[in-house]
Every structure is written in C-alpha cells, then in structure tokens.
Symmetry: C2
Subunit: 577 residues, 2 copies
C-alpha cells in the first residue's frame, strides 16, 4: 500500500493493456513532434546549447512515469522555468560557457533535491503561499519579458538584459544592425505560427478534418516551421549571410553527469533553485489537477513533489536543465488520448531517437524560427484581463499582483516573485490585524442576531453583544483590547458585555492574555464579560485557563441563551425595584 | 482638536493646579532617587560612559511630557534596550570609545525618527507582530543574559561575550583573577538589595511605617547601596586595590550633539534601531495601558509612538542613549502618586541637578554596586513559569517562545527576536493553511447544525453540509479544493453540497478562483454547489463575480433554509417517483 503511494506506477502498470498502449503511443507521437522544437527553443531561452533541452526531455519523462501521479502531465523544459534559469545563471557565467551549463545542471539537481525533500516531508502546502494573483501576475510578466527577450533573434542582432527596460534599451541601441534575411525568416515564422493558431483549425474543419484531429494538426505547426526554415537555411546557405543558426549539436544520448561540488555555487544558487522549484510545482499541480478532474482522477500533491523532484534529478544527472509539467503540451497529450504516464516514456523514446538521428539537420535550424515559436507560445501566458478582474474583486490582491508584475518587468523575476509573496502575506496579516467587529442585536421574535448597522434589531442598554469576525491572535489581540475598551468607555449604563464568537476559529496565547486583561479591566469598570457560541476546538483549549477560572461572566452555548439569561435578569431586577 | 491629539500636554496643562503639582513633585523626588543609580547602571550595561545614562534621563523626560499620552510612564534608559544597544554596537567599535558613543547616539536618533514616522503614519499595529509569547520569552532570555553579563563586575574580572555561552566561557576562563575587595562589595550589595526587596517592607511595616511609604522606601535601597559603597571606596582608597570605579564623569549639563552623517553607519544600524524601537514601544505601551486602565484613562498607541520617538530624538540630540518607558520606575511613579507627565519633567530637573553637582562623588562609585543593582532589577524580568503556562495552552505558541529564548541565549538578541517574530507568523499561516472543516447535520427538531463527529444529528445521503471554520485565502485555497473533492469522491449518491460559511470572514482572489474551480468540477460530477450563512461583507464582494454568475446551486441566508429547500426537494422527488 505504502509502496504504491511512493511508486504510483504500480497503480497502472500491472493492468496495462493493448488499448491503453495504442492510445498512449498516438499521444506520444504528437507530443514528440511538439516537444522537439520546444525543447530546442527553451534551451535557447535559457542561454544553453540546444542539446541541453533535448537531454531534459528524455530521462525526466521516464522517471516521472514511475514517480508521478498525474496520468497526462507532460514533463520537460518550459518557458517560465527557462527564463528563471537564465536569470539565475547570468551573474555567474557567460551564457553557453561550460560553467554556465554546469550551473544549469546544478540548478536541476538542487531543484530535484528540494522538491523530493518537500514531498517526503509533506511540505506541499508551502506552495500555497504563492497566491493566485501573484502567480498569475508573475506568469504574465514573465511572458512579456520572454517575448521581448526573443526579439533580438527575430531581428538578428546582439542584445541582452534581464528585465524589460534593459532588453528594450539594448534592442533600440542595436536595431540598426538588423540582419534582413534573419528578419524575413523570423517574421515569416511568426506570421505562419500566428496564422496556424488562429485560422488553421477552421480551415481544416472546412476541409472535413474531424475536430480533434484538426486541433492536433494545428499543434504541429511549429515543427513545420522548423522543417521549412531549416531546409531554406540549408539550401540558401543562409549561415553565410549572417543568419544565426543553432549550429553543431553533438549527436547521441546524454551521458551520466555529476553535479558540481563547489559549495559556494550551491549557496549562490539556493534561492533561485527554490523559486524555480516552487513556481514549477505550482504550475504543474494546477495543470495536473485541472486535467485529472476532467476524468474523475486525483493527483496527490505531496507525491507530485516527489515525481517532479526525481524528474529534475534525472534531468541534472543526464546533463539537462530544470524541468516541470508544461501547460500546452499536457493539454495536447490529454486531448490526443494519453491514458497513462507511459505516454511520457514513449515521448522520451521519440526524443532520444531525434537526438540520435536528427541532430545533423538541427545544425541548419535558424534561431529566429525558435524565437518565433517561443513568442507565439508565451503570448498565451499573458493574461492582462486578470488585472482588471482582480482590481474589481479586491484591491489588496490587486496590489500584490501589480507589485509582482512591476518588479518582474522592471527589476528581475526573483525580485518579482519574492516581493509578491511577501506582500500577499503582509497584506493578509494586515487585514486580519484589524478585524471586523459588529455590535449585534436580536432580530425581533427570532433567535437570530444581526449587525445593528445593517438591520433593524432589538437592543438593551445594559447588555452589549459584540460579534468578533476573525480568529483572535497576536496581530489583532491589542486591537481587540482597544475595541472593547472604547465600547465600554462610551456606555456608562453597561453591565454586561457578551463576546459573540462563532467566527473565532482560534484564540492563541497572545489573545488569551488580552482576553484576561479585558476581563480584569471590565471587572474594574463594573462590567461582566461573557462569551457565546464558542466553537468546540476553541472551548477545548480554553478549559483549564486562568481566563475561564476568573471570568466575571458565563460562557453561553448560544447568543439567544445569553439574551434570555441577561435581559431576563435585568427585567426581573426592574420588577423587584 | 487635532493640535490636542499631537500635543497631549494641552489636555492637562491648562487645568494644572497646586494639588497636582504637589503630588507630581513627591513622585518626582522618589523616581529621581531611583533613576540616578539606574541611569548609571544601564549606561554601564550598554558599554557607555556613565554620563550618557544621565543625559538620557534629562531632555527625553521633558519631551515625553509634551508629546506622550501616558500620565505616569517614566521614560529613560531601561535594561533590555541597553542590552540591545550593546549588542548592536559591539561589532562596530570597542566599548567606551568615541565611535562607540557616537553609535549609541545615532541609535537613539534613528530609533526616534522611526518611532515618530510610525506614529505619523499610524503604523502602531506593526508592533502587534511581536506576539506575547515572543516578547515574554525575549525579555526572560534578555534578563538571563544581562544578569550573566554583570557577573564579571561582581568578580572584578575582564570578560566579554554577547550570548550566554560566550559570557559563561569567558567568565570561567578569567575567574582565577577575581579581585577580592570587588567581590566583597559586589556580594555585599547583592545581598543587601535582595534583602531589601524581600524583607525590608515587612520590617518597615512592623515598625509602623504605612504601607505605601514602606513600598517606596524599599525602592530607595539602590541609592543607599550606592551611597554606602561610594563612601567605603573613597575612604579605603579601593581604587588602588584594583576595585573598578566609575571614574571621572564630566560635570555639567549635556550639550547639543549632532548625529553622525556616515551613511554606511546608518545602514549598519538600521535593523538594530528598528528592533530597539519596536521592543521598546511594546514594553512601554503595555506598561502604559496597564497603569492607565487602573485610573480609567486611555493612551493612544499611535501618539505614544510620537511621544517615544521625540523622546529618543531628545536623547540623541543631547548625547544620550536610546530610551523607553521602564516598567519598575513607572509603577513607582504611579504608586508615589504622580498625576500628570509633569512628574517626568520634575524628575528631569532632579537628574540635571545630579549631573551638575554629584558627578565628583560618582567617580568613587564601584562598578560592582551598579552590577548588583542591575542583577536585582533584571531578576524580576525572568518569568520561567510563563514557559509552562504557554506549553499547556498551545504547543505552537510555546515553539515560538522557546525558539526566541534559545536563540537569544545561544546566539544574539537580534537573532532571538527576529526568529521569534518569523516563527510566530509562519506558525499562524501554517495553522490557517489547514483549516478545520466539519460535516454538519441538523440537531433533530431544531434549526441548529452541528459537527456529525461530536453530536447526534440528522443527515441526508443526497445533501452534504460542510462547515468551513476559517477565512478562505491563498494559503488554504488549494486545501479547500482537495477537501471538497475528497468528500465528493467518496459519495456516489451525493447531489448537493452546501458550504456553511458563518466563520468565513474573508474570501480572497485565490479562494474565489478555487471556489470557481470547485463549482466547475462539481458540475462535471453532477453535484450542485450551494453556499449558506455567507457574511454581509463577504457577500458584498462576491456579488458580480463569475462564481455567483455560474454557481450551480443557490446562496441561502440560513443553513436551515437550505435544509428545508434541498431535503424538501429530494422528498418531493421521491414522492413523484
């Protein structure tokens, strides 16, 4: 049982049949065709030699098939992680040098170790601290930076920079050196790919191609662009006209690579590796969950960490770059009918064959074509309407999102994501530090109590019912003291104060001390403190504390019971008087 | 009105009368007698020349009388801030050098600027992130470190160190050089002060001295120890026997000092200044609030920041060290009958007179006496039972407290407080990231719904009521998705799921997206999603969102209404069938 938890392959392999194998094989062929240009392109984006992208698309896929829980996730190099890899390595070495490649391999190894450790320690919840607006803002901004960074390949100029301003500045300064044949290929590939994305499907449908087939054919446009431009570049000797080509790629399967043991390098890359791990995991899990839900399957996030972690270890040990589950490829894999992770293993075989036999042809592939596939792919990541949607729903979430976008564009991907996370945590704590309090009164004739400011309710000047709409903890403990004392200061007739607690999910040690202080101060002021609707788990803790021992009032199960007892008391006192 | 807010002196000065003046004057004399040895001792603790302590007890008290809101807080050097000052300056210069003194002055100025700015920006809530267990653990550990650091003066040896282990190691290595006359004075002063604290009051009461007078006389024991040991040291020429004396103290009032403009020094001291500010503010406000509550007065925490900030600016500009409200002196001031902050101003006059006329005598004061007064003073800070109390109430709060104590003792005061704050925030987020969910059923014959695991309730297999006991936000959004989907996977008969939300105080953008995802996934699974008891402020936000537009079910005001509608529906369907 436990073995099946840590080796999810045991859940499907024993019952693996011919029907599943056929479906998986078909999906694998389609994904392979899609993955060849993508793996080359993302290696380019990360500043790495083309083969590093191919290597990252072989062993990791096999490993994920053993340890991963998603049936249809397609693991490999992805755009955002490639950008983050480039950003992490830029300060350490010049792009493409052996040190740079060693750094990418180390990033994959470290990311693999971190993810696997998080999975074994069941720390998957840590990824939750990347809130949706921060992730969404980060991916949008990364998409913009990636697209901008690829323009130099379209124009065939030298340019650099790790944020939008640097990239634009560098581009503007070098645009005079534009290489026209490169520009022609780049613009041609871009237009073709955009056309394929927007128009090809309706045209294919019009020609009688069935819907799903048309969808899948559309996804093969990039390989077509690669084939055509490679042929053109080879035939016209475009390399000699200054068109940058991918160049010589070593043929053959990757060899076992051991990571650098330079302890200082490990320290320098630690934060980057952690960010790549967490961002990659969040992307992967959300794709995996969306696809799993469509077929009533479940994925286990903690085991998923192990799946992605071991896949990254596989990437690093075979000379590859950091990998994760890619959105568009996973959707194609799913739509093409993949039924088990075996499809991923078959894809790995496809990429291995490409590495063995296609590398001579790849040498003539223009970088402009790869840049065009990257730009068209990342345009889908850019979700500007999400900004407006978030603004309408919540200004604080919008603030965190905007900060992430501005810093990712204007400073660096790492600054963007770290400030987004810090800001979302800070804003959440700020919100809960000034909780909503409401004086409530009885809805006449019922047992219900509602905010006096929103409803027409019964009140009694000698008893105030104060509803606390938040867990009580250190950040709002002092605010609670102030709120209660302010309330009491203004009401000389007050004899009883009831704290109505149905929304208090937690009372920590700080809040307990504040409640004790409130109880004492109210006692000095001649006011009894009562509690009502205290939740079971909270009440369990409060038993045996000083607070309950010295509470001047009572703990009521329901607010209505408190109303009956306290208002009843007052009335009978009146009658006596 | 606004002027009175920022200048609280306007609230009491116009009506200041002779009766108040007399009370304030009596309190001021007693506090002055207590403050002279304390200000010298805390300067010693901070590694500063004695006069710096005196200077910090003149202008700051006058400034606080103008800007502070507490009527009885006694501002000046205190033990914990002095320890933190020493810890901040140790890496920068040797104790007692002009650079070291300049650092202390800069700390006071920076702390003053930070506190004033926080007050003007109304950022007093930031101090709330120091939870009670962290503050309590920090003060206990600081007390232990301070007491240990003073033992070298009692033994008359050279020793150093900034955490308990370093101090003990250094002491053990140098204990062979103990100076016997110093040890005699140190132990004598310690025993006398401990006797005075424990036994003097009952003896005085036995002699017929009235209770409050006896209390106050007990507090003058330190000045008595100072007088006697100074006389002994002078008469017996103890300085020549190797007893360390305070030595020449410049006579006369402090002069205007301008802070260092070395920008690098500002950067180096920024974190320390912030920690000293926040810790000092938290100590001050809790003393101030406790005393104010006893007389039905209020203090305004944001204005209190301005009061302490300007007092620290006063300290820095007059050559003094960082100051804050001290616990023991404030209690004495209160008990001695101080009625307005004028008492503080009178105390400043007392200290100014001491600075003008008593400094020649102070030269003969043995450092061992000051060390003894510090040790006896900080023993009261050490609250070990709080550890047991916190352990019993909450393991997580205990964890934060223990980490603070262990790191303060074993590493440094700054590491202690920073890790305590980080850990309390982390643990709070962790707790709320796995919230309590309960499937609830109807208490038979009522409109109440309770946890099925705790109560005997009615259920219906086609409708599940799930109560969420936490605000829904990014840290628990994915956990919510998993919980709901797990619940649905196990129940094939399920047709309706009601999320019962009385404890949901917030739904942020991440949780909104999760709810939308849940709604879609449940729709695919043939289950309708309903909400009940959504709070007003939460509902206001949800209006106009995709979630409500596409919700497969309804939003019910009460859970009972949902029960009637949904169970009613099922029953009528049954009847039809």
């Amino acid at each position: 049982m436990n073995l099946q938890r840590y080796l999810p392959i045991l859940n499907w392999l024993p019952a693996y049949g011919r029907g599943q194998a056929t479906s998986d094989l078909v999906a694998a062929i389609i994904v392979t065709v899609m993955l060849i240009p993508q793996s080359l392109a993302y290696a380019l984006l990360a500043g790495l030699p083309a083969q590093v992208g191919l290597y990252a698309s072989i062993l990791p896929l096999v490993v994920y098939a053993v340890f991963g829980t998603s049936r249809t996730l397609s693991v490999g190099p992805v755009a955002v992680a490639s950008l983050m890899t480039a950003a992490a390595l830029a300060p350490l070495a010049a792009s493409g040098t052996p040190e740079y490649v060693a750094g990418a391999i180390l990033l994959a190894i470290m990311s693999g170790l971190m993810l696997t450790a998080m999975g074994l320690l069941r720390l998957g919840f840590l990824a939750n601290f990347l809130s949706h607006p921060v992730i969404s803002g980060f991916i949008t901004a990364s998409g913009i930076v990636i697209a901008a960074s690829q323009l130099k390949h379209i124009f065939g100029v030298e340019a650099s920079g790790h944020n939008l301003w640097e990239i634009i500045e560098s581009l503007v300064l070098s645009i005079g050196n534009t290489n026209l044949p490169t520009l022609a290929i780049g613009i041609g590939a871009l237009l073709f790919l955009l056309f394929a994305r927007k128009r090809l499907r309706p045209i294919l449908s019009g020609l009688g191609v069935p819907g799903r087939m048309a969808d899948i054919l559309t996804k093969t446009a990039p390989i077509l662009a690669v084939l055509v431009t490679t042929l053109v570049a080879w035939q016209l000797h475009l390399g000699e006209s200054g068109v940058k080509l991918v160049g010589q790629v070593p043929s053959g399967l990757p060899e076992l690579t051991l990571p650098s043991m330079d302890w200082q390098l490990w320290q320098q890359l630690a934060v980057s590796a952690l960010l790549i791990s967490v961002v990659g995991f969040v992307e992967s899990v959300s794709v995996g969950q969306t696809l799993a839900a469509k077929r009533r399957q479940r994925i286990d996030p903690d085991q998923e960490l192990i799946g992605l972690g071991t896949a990254n270890l596989g990437a690093g040990l075979s000379g590859g770059m950091p990998v994760t589950g890619g959105f568009s490829r996973s959707v194609v894999n799913f739509d093409a009918g993949a039924e088990t992770p075996a499809a991923g293993a078959y894809t790995a075989v496809g990429i291995a064959l490409a590495t063995l036999f296609l590398t001579p042809a790849i040498a003539y592939l223009p970088k402009a074509t790869l840049a065009a596939t990257i730009i068209v792919a990342v345009i889908t990541l850019i979700d500007l309407p999400a900004l407006a949607r978030t603004w309408r729903y919540s200004r604080t979430d919008f603030g965190a999102m905007l900060a992430t976008i501005v810093l990712t564009l204007g400073h660096s991907v790492e600054a963007g994501i770290i400030s987004g996370v810090t800001l979302s945590i800070g804003l959440f704590l700020f919100r809960t530090s000034r909780p909503h309090f409401a004086v409530v009164g009885r809805v006449p004739g019922t047992e219900h109590f509602r905010n006096v400011l929103r409803h027409d309710v019964e009140l009694c000047p000698k008893v105030t019912f104060l509803r606390v709409d938040e867990s009580l903890y250190f950040a709002n403990a002092r605010f609670l003291e102030e709120t209660v004392m302010d309330l009491v200061t203004g009401e000389p007739e007050l004899k009883d104060l009831v704290l109505v607690c149905p929304a208090v999910n937690l009372v920590d040690a700080s809040a307990l001390e504040s409640l004790e202080a409130i109880n004492e101060r109210l006692r000095d002021a001649g006011v009894n403190l009562h509690l009502s609707e205290v939740k079971g788990p909270v009440m369990d803790r409060l038993k045996g504390t000083e607070l309950l021992a010295h509470l001047t009032g009572r703990v009521f199960l329901s607010t209505f019971e408190a109303w009956q007892m306290l208002i009843g008391q007052v009335r009978s006192l009146k009658e006596t008087a």
